[in-house]
Symmetry: C2
DNA sequence: ACACTTAGTGTATTAAAAACACATAAAGTG
DNA sequence: CACTTTATGTGTTTTTAATACACTAAGTGT
């Protein structure tokens, strides 16, 4: 298992900021560290890159191992390479962010005796390493990207109401949106399928359900169409 | 110099896509490889990250060592982590892109007996490793970023004409721009200083020179202003 | 003085963003 | 079952921003 190299090299890890939507808050999945350094502190899930596996694959593997999540939106965020971000040695971390709908997948909480939990992104405990910074960058990226790429749908169940969708954007962008203008715009893009189905079990008029037409979007995209909110 | 670790780890490098503007073309600085693999092929300058130096610092160091460039715009691009991007072993590369004005700095061509040269970005020789991909990503990033951040100025001399600026945007975005609309918009942002100076040595009416008011821009930025072209 | 080249300038049209309010449907309550 | 509660669904006007478009001015070279 041990390895010898002609020149020293930094260690390489991946870390995944896993975001989910819960009612009217964005949440992030954190794990409690069981070992030093930062034992007992909360951290973004991650792990070492094994030579021979692509860094993307390492991120997917860690995501699966630590949370059981599969087939979710996962994208590279930024690489954090400060030599003192880890007190042990120089550890460079390639950070990713994942989007998932909190209601859909159950998170298997404990993988290796550590507990995992969702926290509101703006109310997290003190984080290990530079993970607070990583989370901050992830949220900024999400804010930037959600406006010109339809990645918001990853945070919703497959069938959703326009109100849910609007609320999602309001949460991410942290500003209110006009209902009529929002609906006009999103519907005019023709990337939503209006389902013959309405919301169940609500104590008021039930809203129509929609789903995102990814196929249609990909075709439009090829023809130069750009999703812009 | 040799190093031993408990677990194997990929090697870590930085690569810098260095872009410059030459008349009416974007150019990229490439170096000819003097050693295997890909000996004789052209490549983006780069090198190994030394433990203890931040990855950003490594990128700056390589930039300086290989080109003599200092104090230029340099930003992280993306991390390329495919295990077979280097035939020797798994080498993960954190790519950066740098912007500089070609006329301003002289590039010291030969550092370690390898030659360096500028190539038109859309007419480069076959590149080593996955460097063609890295270049492509860099150009896409530049196209995306130039529209909402005033990074284009990095490619121009400190004093420039509005026509030069417009041409720059036309080159990067690969589409023509209306002269009057362009001037109207860029001037309305109030981030250019109109100098009491005009172009010298041209065989026609000399254009007024301008410079970018970075200080003013930073202040506006804080107040929520966003540069958008 | 004339030809050539690029600089510099304003307005009208069109398209997109923003602002804004009420009737409707369904469930819950007494 | 009338009534209250709650969220749904829907158009028009106003304002702002984007686009389209053509001629005169200034300077160099012959």
């Amino acid at each position: 298992m041990a390895a010898k190299y002609k020149y020293p090299r930094p260690a390489l890890t991946v870390d995944c900021v896993i975001l989910g939507l819960d009612e009217d808050e964005l949440k992030v999945l954190l794990i409690e560290r069981g070992i030093e350094p930062y034992e007992g502190k909360w951290a973004i899930p991650g792990g070492f890159v094994v030579p021979g596996e692509s860094v993307d694959a390492a991120a997917r593997r860690e995501l699966l191992e630590e949370t059981g999540l599969k087939n979710v939106f996962l994208e590279q965020l930024y690489t954090f390479g400060d030599p003192d971000r880890d007190p042990r040695e120089h550890v460079v971390s390639v950070a990713y962010y994942a989007l998932t709908n909190l209601a859909g997948h159950e998170i298997k909480a404990d993988t290796d005796a550590r507990s995992a939990a969702w926290f509101a992104v703006h109310d997290v405990p003190e984080l290990a390493f530079d993970h607070a910074k990583i989370l901050e960058v992830a949220l900024l990226r999400l804010q930037g990207k959600v406006r010109y790429q339809p990645i918001g749908f990853e945070l919703l169940p497959r069938k959703f109401t326009l109100t849910q969708l609007q609320k999602l954007y309001e949460i991410i962008l942290e500003k209110p949106i006009d209902k009529r203008n929002f609906r006009k715009k999103i519907l005019s893009m023709d990337v939503l399928i209006e389902l013959d189905e309405i919301q169940q079990g609500v104590a008021h008029r039930a809203a129509r359900l929609y789903s995102f037409n990814e196929k249609e979007y990909r075709q439009k995209e090829k023809k130069g169409f750009s999703f812009e909110l």
